[in-house]
């Protein structure tokens, strides 16, 4: 069995590892290094500037705005999305009229709902963002013309053009596109909870709200927690970047009201030609991401000890 084992291991790992090292690991290490330089990205010359980029970042208003929006997304998006998804999943699985021999029952047509809710998950966030960009169009978009149509012509918000509404619009699009995934995920989890638990609780006189908080949620906690991490990474990563980049004016506007950290990294590096400083902001994003993951793991562990 041992014959040629190491040759085989090396042979099989070489290609994936080389690819991964060159395109993922090496750039990550480089980016930490570049964050201490004044590299523009345009010329090969650069020098070490110590912590200059970091002190500059701490004084940068746009950085603070981006950070604020990213933190807001990380707090609100998982909360709203997972909350809605739990609610819908509970309705699907337990909200139905009681039928013969079933203490708890799903609503009729729950299969249809699950299929429909999942639609946005398979679509590119680009398609979703473009569609809603038109829906939010203030002069002839879907939303405002509907408002006009139902006699509310006096209320014509600027949506993405209004600094106080724009970020909410972006968030609602991200929520719209992710809730369905978690409904399906939580439904699968809820279906695997033994029916006896619900029966016992109902016998003891518990209503459905109590059953939800005392039985469903604790037994589903692991899934909710991994959903929380998944949603947080999404809010700090590619999806948030894409939605803001595609939908908003600027992008990131109006008046920096929707800019988020990944977008600011992208703009600093590829629009402003300050690659060194961009990686510094990227390191800031990395710290936020790791802090978020650590907090969720910590909270999750404490919660689990209670049961």
């Amino acid at each position: 069995m041992q014959h040629g084992k190491y040759r085989f291991i090396v042979g099989f790992l070489a290609a994936p590892l080389a690819l991964y090292a060159v395109f993922v690991i090496w750039p990550f290490i480089q980016s930490i290094y570049y964050s201490f330089t004044d590299w523009t990205g345009l010329s090969p010359d650069f020098k070490m500037v110590g912590f200059d980029n970091y002190t500059r970042m701490l004084k940068d208003d746009i950085f603070w705005k981006s950070l604020q929006h990213s933190v807001l997304l990380v707090l609100l998006l998982p909360l709203v999305t997972l909350g809605l998804a739990l609610f819908f999943a509970f309705m699907l699985n337990v909200g139905g009229r009681r039928r013969k021999n079933a203490t708890v029952a799903g609503v009729r047509g729950s299969g249809f709902y699950k299929i429909a809710y999942f639609f946005p998950q398979v679509l590119s966030i680009v398609i979703v963002a473009l569609l809603f960009q038109f829906a939010f169009n203030p002069s002839d978009g879907m939303l405002n013309s509907t408002l006009k149509g139902i006699g509310l012509g006096s209320i014509q918000p600027d949506w993405l053009g209004d600094p106080s509404l724009a970020l909410i619009c972006v968030m609602s699009v991200l929520i719209w596109s992710t809730v369905g995934f978690f409904v399906v995920l939580f439904s699968a989890g809820m279906a695997s909870i033994p029916k006896d638990f619900y029966e016992a609780a109902l016998l003891d006189g518990a209503n459905r709200i109590t059953t939800f908080f005392r039985i469903t949620l604790p037994l589903l906690w692991d899934t909710v927690q991994s959903g929380w991490v998944y949603m947080g990474i999404l809010a700090l990563g590619v999806e948030a970047f894409t939605a803001v980049q595609v939908m908003t004016v600027g992008p990131g506007g109006p008046d920096y009201s929707t800019t988020v950290l990944p977008l600011y990294v992208y703009q600093t590096a590829f629009r402003d030609g300050q690659a060194g400083y961009a990686t510094t902001i990227g390191v800031g994003l990395l710290i936020v991401t790791m802090a978020f993951a650590a907090i969720v793991m910590r909270l999750g562990r404490r919660e689990r000890l209670e049961f």
Partner: protein, 305 residues
Amino acid sequence: MKTTDTPPAPAADRVPVSTVTVPGGKKEKSSEGSVLNVFSHGVLIIWAILVVLPLLWAVMASFKTDDSILSTPWSLPDKLHFENWSRAWSQAHMSDYFFNTIVVVGGSLIGTLLLGSMAAYVLARFDFPGNRFLYFLFIGGMSFPIILALVPLFFVMNNMGLLNTVHGLILVYIAYSLPFTVFFLTSFFRTLPTSVAEAAMLDGASHTRTFFQVMLPMAKPGLISVGIFNFLGQWNQYMLPTVLNTEPDHRVLSQGLVELATSQGYKGDWSGLFAGLVMAMLPVLAAYIIFQRQVVAGLTAGAVK
């Protein structure tokens, strides 16, 4: 708690709940079911409408004229304006974007599955120094913000002459799909029985042959799940091509759509834009409806594990 009335088996509409502590609870409880039922149906239908309506609206708009999209957004098309679709397909280069996407995703999906399963198999089945380290090196990539690596990666690719090339993009897609693929397939290979591989080895098959002829066929369900996950991720990818592939001739679908939106917005060709959007939307939606079970399993598998 005293239970005055506990029927042995729950009857059709009668709820087995009536306790001393809740006087008159019987009546309330039996109506609770139907009130809740109406309420939950109401809420669920509203969300279903919110999800489906924008998509249906886009399909409808793709068959209308620009005028009627803007003036009467909710009316049905007067007739099916297929010319929107042909305009988007040829003039707006949707056909090229489709072609590029199929090439890039096809290449990177095969590469991801092959390299990912090779690495996962070795990490799952062989004990060697550094195994754990390599495993965590791979799965660590799942949680790092990709944008941080993209800045230096742009210049790495530039120096290697891979920037704005299709094969460069394929290599990057594979590299960034490896963390999840390795994570998923490692746990999958661990669940497979060892006896079959051992039998193959006893019969004189080499490690390589055992992998390709015995283990890979056994891992098919896992490969399908992770394949669907990667296919959708790579098909919908936007950030990587936006940074690393700015050559107009090599644009993939998601870039093309943004480009289409920008240019059609100026021209006011909304119907062409929606035709393009729907065109990009339909294949994925159709595939989802046909392979619904596998797609849901593939996408949720990662979160449950």
